[in-house]
């Protein structure tokens, strides 16, 4: 029932039924702590949950997922509560868990941890990294190729280093096709003020300006604010590029779907599921697993078929990256 492109999950039952004390001894007990916003955000967190749910159905895992308080002050406590309740492995979703996972992992050396979007920082910690810049590079290639005005834009939700990765990749992608293209860049809020992910109106104003100035494709990495970007695109009869999941499918507004030329996919669900599977197979932490173009951890969605005509070009770019001919910068 969740968004994202997990695929394979079928009708879901109440997620946490059967969790807790009746768990079979020695069975797989997976704990997961979400980032702020928590379960049901139809985005990043839910993508992680889709992976967890898949582990439940495919691996017969006993799962427990916890959402943090609105101010995110209890991330570490959630991890410890899961650890104390006997869950192993435990996954923290979001780079904000980096610090807390480090400490918790040191306190519970017998438990395996994973953190999404942050590097491993302990012998029992697996870093689940995503090469957003590579996916964004492809988005940039698509945008530059498709742009008729040689002018594209990027709207970032919050000006932090994660979103800057998207920007860097996108810009590199655009420049690789048309070095002289104009690229408008706008962030909605500063680092530390996460409201930029929840401001469709601001996204709309920022994108509107870009379209008015002549941009015809705008890429967003701004959570719910992206909705405003799509609206601006629809009003200007231009195109936009979605992020994280295949937004042409997850956005339910029928008038907005056609403006989403493609979306940069970030397969958090795959990352989470693969980690659990590997754990079951006895894998230990201490390393990073990078989900990049090579393993299709990132990529472009094709729903709507709007980028089918430039598939060759995209595949070539992807091949160059996978082969290491191109190194995509992760900082602007």
């Amino acid at each position: 029932a969740c968004g994202g492109s997990g695929g394979g999950t079928t009708a879901s039952e109440a997620p946490s039924a059967g969790a807790g004390s009746e768990a079979p001894k020695g069975g797989l007990k997976v704990g997961l702590a979400f980032d702020v916003g928590g379960r049901g955000d139809k985005s990043f967190n839910d993508a992680a949950y889709a992976g967890l749910e898949k582990a439940k159905t495919d691996l017969n895992a006993d799962i427990k997922e916890l959402s943090p308080a609105a101010d995110g002050s209890n991330r570490g406590d959630l991890l410890r509560q899961l650890a104390d309740a006997g869950y192993n492995p435990i996954i923290g979703v979001g780079f904000a868990y980096g610090d807390d996972i480090k400490k918790t992992a040191a306190e519970y050396p017998d438990i395996q941890f994973a953190v999404v979007d942050s590097a491993s920082n302990g012998p029992n910690v697996t870093g689940l990294l995503f090469a957003e810049e590579q996916g964004s590079y492809l988005a940039g290639v698509a945008a530059a190729t498709k742009s008729k005005t040689n002018h594209v834009g990027f709207v970032g939700g919050v000006e932090n280093d994660l979103i800057k990765k998207f920007e860097a990749g996108f810009v590199a992608g655009v420049k690789s096709v048309k070095p002289d293209d104009k690229i408008d860049i706008k962030y909605l809020t500063p680092d530390g003020d996460f409201s930029g992910f929840k401001a469709p109106d601001k996204g709309k104003v920022a994108a509107e300006k870009m379209y008015q100035d002549g941009a015809d494709i705008v890429y967003h990495a701004s959570g719910d604010s992206g909705l405003g970007v799509f609206q601006a695109a629809a009003a200007a009869k231009k195109k936009a590029i979605g992020v994280d999941s295949d937004q042409r499918q997850t956005v339910k507004e029928t008038d907005l779907q056609p403006v989403i030329m493609t979306s940069m996919l970030k397969r958090v669900d795959v990352g989470v599921f693969e980690f659990i599977k590997a754990f079951q197979g006895g894998a230990k932490g201490g390393t990073n697993i990078t989900y990049d173009l090579k393993v299709d951890g990132v990529g472009l969605s094709t729903t709507g078929g709007e980028i089918d005509d430039i598939k060759d070009k995209l595949d070539a770019a992807k091949k160059d990256i996978v082969d290491g001919k191109i190194t995509v910068p992760s900082k602007p």
């Binding site: 879901s12 839910d46 509107e208």
Partner: protein, 426 residues
């Protein structure tokens, strides 16, 4: 000064401002300063602030401080989203109004019936708003519900069906779009006027029109009707009102519930803009609205100025980082104008008595103004890209600066925030 005189001065002020903006635009080449897009964005961003402020105005004119606007607005957004995806825009409007009014009702019960400190009650409502809405999402939008299938999650509702229409002014801002054409020429003053007018008339959401109409309506109701007189008297001297047979409790209840409804309406507007409820989309606008109302001296006109200023600065900031640097030029020109006026007054033969002896302070002020002009001008010339963080704070800094400069004759309703109990005089 007579009423007519005041009105003329206001008009002159607006004209001078537009002239100045036009000048700065031409000199700096930042067309966004007066573009229709900026003004459309300003309107979009000012309306929810204005509606929240209007909510504050109604409550505080009746003597109840309403710091809970934010929470009421949050309730408005949730209910608008919930009703909107099922039954459309009109239902969203009504449900949002009711949601906000519910928050107002809680505030009224606490402050009017139980005499609780108004700030405590407001703070509690600011806690309750997000708590209740998150809870409702967790109950109504959980996996497996029809809403979840339609795209709802714990952090957002499905999109509302049949969104509200956004008409334009025919001929001028649509179709042939005469104003748009004129704006495109970038002529001095003419294009600026055209841009402003087009921004305010092109594809304006009906709720914007409604919200803007609410300002004169509020003025009419509060200052021109019997009910309004009673309401204001409850904020000025409830004991006097009581002694004349006015049911102060009832008036306060009505005012605070309407206050909540207006805050809720601000929430509805946000939902209309986003086409759905998004958790956290109010972003502190209740507080900004309260600030705009105080800025506007508890009056609809002042509130309109306060929220427009904030909306304009936010819109410009979101659209054009470059235009923000031209504020330096703007400030430099303003200071220069101030300096010229001062010097001329200084040199005029009939200077008023109180000025004569104050020359030392006068000179320091003028020196400071001159230095400021130079610094601002220099900043404008040298800085071409401000760090984003400094761009983001434009609206807030501007509000503070205007408050500092504007003479402080704010007068809040005398019995605002005062605990009133029937039969117990203060």
């Amino acid at each position: 000064m007579t009423r007519l005189g005041k009105y003329h001065v206001a008009l002159l002020g607006v004209a001078a401002l537009i002239l100045l903006m036009s000048l700065v635009r031409v000199v700096s080449g930042q067309n966004d300063i007066t573009s229709s897009g900026t003004f459309a964005a300003a309107l979009l961003l000012a309306v929810p602030i204005g509606l929240a402020g209007l909510g504050g105005l109604w409550a505080e004119r009746a003597g109840v401080v309403n710091i809970g606007l934010e929470g009421m607005m949050v309730l408005g957004t949730w209910f608008a989203g919930w009703a909107g995806y099922q039954w459309g825009a009109v239902a969203a409007l009504l449900a949002g109004l009711l949601g906000g009014a519910l928050g107002g009702l809680i505030h009224a019960v606490a402050t009017v019936t139980f005499g609780v400190d108004h700030i405590i009650s407001g703070v509690a409502i600011n806690l309750l708003g997000p708590g209740i809405t998150r809870f409702l999402s967790e109950v109504f939008y959980k996996d497996g519900t029809a809403a979840a299938d339609a795209g709802a999650g714990f952090t957002g509702s499905p999109a509302i069906t049949s969104p509200a229409p956004s008409p334009s002014l025919p001929l001028l801002s649509d179709g042939p779009d005469l104003l748009g054409k004129l704006e495109g020429t970038h002529w001095f003053l003419l294009s600026d006027l055209a841009g402003i007018l087009r921004g305010l008339t092109h594809e304006v959401n009906v709720l914007v029109i409604l919200a803007v109409l609410l300002l004169p309506l509020t003025y009419f109701v509060l200052w021109r009707t019997a009910f309004g007189l009673r309401l204001r008297s409850a904020g000025e001297n409830p004991w006097a009102a009581e002694s004349l047979g006015v049911n102060v409790y009832r008036i306060k209840y009505i005012a605070v519930v309407i206050s909540g409804a207006f805050a809720g309406l601000g929430g509805v507007f946000l939902v209309f803009v986003s086409t759905k409820y998004v958790e956290g989309q109010t972003q502190g606008r209740g507080f900004i609205g309260l600030a705009a109302m105080i800025f506007g001296n508890w009056r609809p006109g002042g509130l309109a100025i306060g929220s427009s200023l904030f909306g304009y600065a936010s819109g410009l900031q979101l659209r054009s980082t470059g235009a923000i640097t031209s504020f330096f030029l703007f400030g430099a020109v303003l200071l220069l104008a101030y300096l010229i006026i001062r010097v001329r007054r200084m040199l005029s033969p009939e200077r008023p008595a109180e000025l004569a002896a104050r020359s030392a302070r006068e000179y320091t002020l003028m020196a400071a103004a001159a230095a400021g002009t130079v610094v601002l001008f220099w900043l404008w010339l040298t800085v071409d890209q401000l760090p984003n963080e400094f761009v983001f704070i434009t609206p807030h800094v501007l509000t503070l600066l205007v408050l500092l400069v504007a003479s402080q004759r704010l007068r809040m309703p005398k019995a605002d925030g005062v605990r009133y109990r029937r039969g117990e005089q203060h």
